[in-house]
């Protein structure tokens, strides 16, 4: 049973006002708000249970280490991963993908080797590959989505050639909301002997994710979108790929022994976790994932489908609103423009005056925006605590924009 009022009561920030209006927070795609249990866990960790991890034999160090390390198991459960040693804790998806680029891809790619990307990627899943293009002549092959925002898995598989070393795709588009069939892509890519990286930043928030079922080689998540603290996250790396990876950053924790002339590495996943990590952030992430699993990912997905259908109907009923991305199974993410003089910046400014928080701009996805033929858009992205009444507030505010800007 999903009780939306109870869920809303779990998030203290939702009761505040913005510009004299009740906050309507529709910028969840950028970052989600935090439930009280996460806030309390952070306070508890710093006030009662804090120490560095993996480094001391004293009581607090053991306690903090236990709390921190237990999150690996929580993430494994959340993503349906059998072996938690395949989970590397980090600061989020950007770090995760940069690590794969540096540790796995860079040493095994020659000039002319290819990486296949979809046009829907977030810059975090583009720029690390541009580094490889710039520095060692790697070729990026782009696969377009159609006008609805759907991505044909076969088109991605067909783009894989003899020189392709990796396919890197998002699970859910942060702009269009499209859900990508990453399982079909992985099956097709593996049949050609090519590993697959999936950017799960948006997907893991909105629906149950089963990484073992998808079968991909890398799956990256980011904590601050999962109702957890900023600066937390993780990446799943399949054992075979872990064995192929060189360390990313050097420092404490990731080494077994250091001498004047030599270093030996700790075992994975520690080998890829240099320095003092985001201890409390990670503990907070574990609590956030427990909170989501407590609500039930199926329930969250069902609630957001209801919101999506309602928002889609209301937005499509306005002939002066253009929604980018009409995929039937999309997540509740609506990037929109208005016909007439209103720029995304104008819309978001007026919406803000009405207490409605949305993102305006190019959403760290400039190649996609160019492909869709739009400059900036306004993005309303829904989360677990949003309501149909908030969709109505959004629509009313958009109607004011239409009146003001024509």
């Amino acid at each position: 049973m999903f009780d939306i009022d109870a869920v809303r009561a779990d998030f203290p920030i939702l009761s505040r006002e913005v510009n004299g209006k009740p906050l309507v927070y529709l910028d969840n795609g950028a970052s989600a708000q935090k439930p009280q249990v996460v806030i309390d866990a952070i306070t508890q960790a710093y006030s009662q249970e804090y120490s560095n991890v993996h480094r001391g034999l004293h009581y607090l160090s053991n306690l903090a280490t236990d709390k921190y390390e237990s999150v690996r198991g929580t993430i494994a459960k959340f993503l349906h991963i059998a072996d938690e040693d395949q989970i590397i804790l980090n600061s989020g998806t950007t770090e995760g993908i940069n690590m794969v680029a540096y540790s796995w891809a860079m040493p095994r790619m020659q000039a002319g080797d290819e990486i296949v990307l979809s046009i829907m990627e977030h810059h975090a899943n583009i720029v690390p590959w541009h580094f490889l293009r710039e520095r060692q002549g790697v070729v990026i092959k782009w696969v377009d989505c159609d006008a609805n925002g759907d991505l044909d898995p076969q088109a991605v598989i067909d783009a894989i050639g003899p020189k392709t070393k990796l396919v890197a795709v998002t699970h859910v588009s942060n702009v269009l909301g499209t859900v990508v069939d990453v399982k079909a892509i992985t099956e097709g890519a593996h049949a050609k002997g090519v590993p697959v990286l999936v950017d799960g930043s948006q997907a893991a928030v909105h629906m149950p994710v089963d990484v073992d079922d998808i079968g991909c080689d890398f799956y990256a998540i980011t904590g601050h979108k999962l109702y957890g603290p900023s600066g937390s996250g993780a990446i799943f790396v399949r054992k075979e790929r872990l064995a192929e990876m060189r360390p990313f950053m050097g420092g404490g924790d990731m080494i077994r022994e250091v001498t004047r002339d030599e270093v030996t590495w700790n075992d994975p996943p520690m080998k890829f976790e240099a320095g003092t990590p985001g201890i409390v952030q990670t503990i907070g992430l574990g609590v956030a994932l427990d909170y989501m699993m407590g609500l039930g990912m199926e329930n969250i997905a069902a609630h957001e489908r209801t919101l999506r259908d309602y928002a889609r109907d209301r937005l499509n009923g306005l002939n002066w609103v253009n929604v980018q991305g009409q995929s039937a199974t999309k997540a509740a993410i609506f990037s929109l423009t208005l016909t007439g003089g209103a720029h995304a910046h104008d819309i978001s400014t007026v919406l803000d005056k009405k207490g409605v928080a949305v993102r305006a701009g190019t959403h760290c996805a400039m190649p996609l925006m160019e492909h869709m033929g739009v400059g900036a858009t306004c993005r309303a992205s829904f989360g677990v605590y949003n309501t149909k009444a908030e969709v109505d507030v959004l629509i009313d505010a958009l109607e004011l924009c239409h009146e003001l800007f024509g």
């Binding site: 510009n19 003089g341 209103a342 720029h343 995304a344 910046h345 104008d346 978001s348 400014t349 007026v350 005056k353 305006a360 701009g361 400059g375 900036a376 004011l400 003001l404 800007f405």
Partner: protein
């Protein structure tokens, strides 16, 4: 006292007591402002904002400061019109003395000078200050 042109705007804003009317007026100012010739919309005149594109062309005429500007966002165009009233035709050495934050505050528009890079107003004010100091 700011320029006569700005004082006129401030007087109008004084009559408008809710944000909706103030923004309506600001948007009308944006709509009324002549667009910048496309020939001037080049990288050198572009002000780095995030959400909208902004261009600013400053120049000196007989020791007086003037600029023209444009944006693809209507509210930003309105803000450019306000800044034009605030700065244009001032002696160049007086440009640096303008307290843009305080003046926009009189219109209830100082939120646009926040640390957010995304609206470009702050960057415009900085660009104007740099030009006048050259």
């Amino acid at each position: 006292m700011a320029t006569e042109a700005f004082e006129e705007i401030a007087e109008t804003f004084d009559f408008l007591d809710d944000w909706e009317d103030r923004y309506r007026h600001l948007i009308d100012m944006g709509k009324a402002m002549p667009p910048l010739d496309d020939a001037f919309k080049v990288p050198a005149t572009k002000v780095n904002g995030c959400a909208s594109q902004v261009w600013l062309v400053p120049h000196r005429d007989d020791g007086l400061f003037r600029f023209e500007g444009d944006s693809d966002a209507m509210i930003v165009r309105g803000l450019i019109a306000v800044l034009a009233a605030l700065y244009n035709d001032l002696p160049v050495d007086e440009v640096a003395k303008v307290d843009a934050r305080a003046e926009l505050g009189r219109l209830g528009l100082n939120e646009h000078l926040s640390a957010q890079r995304s609206n470009g107003v702050r960057a415009m004010v900085e660009r104007i200050g740099q030009f006048a100091a050259e």
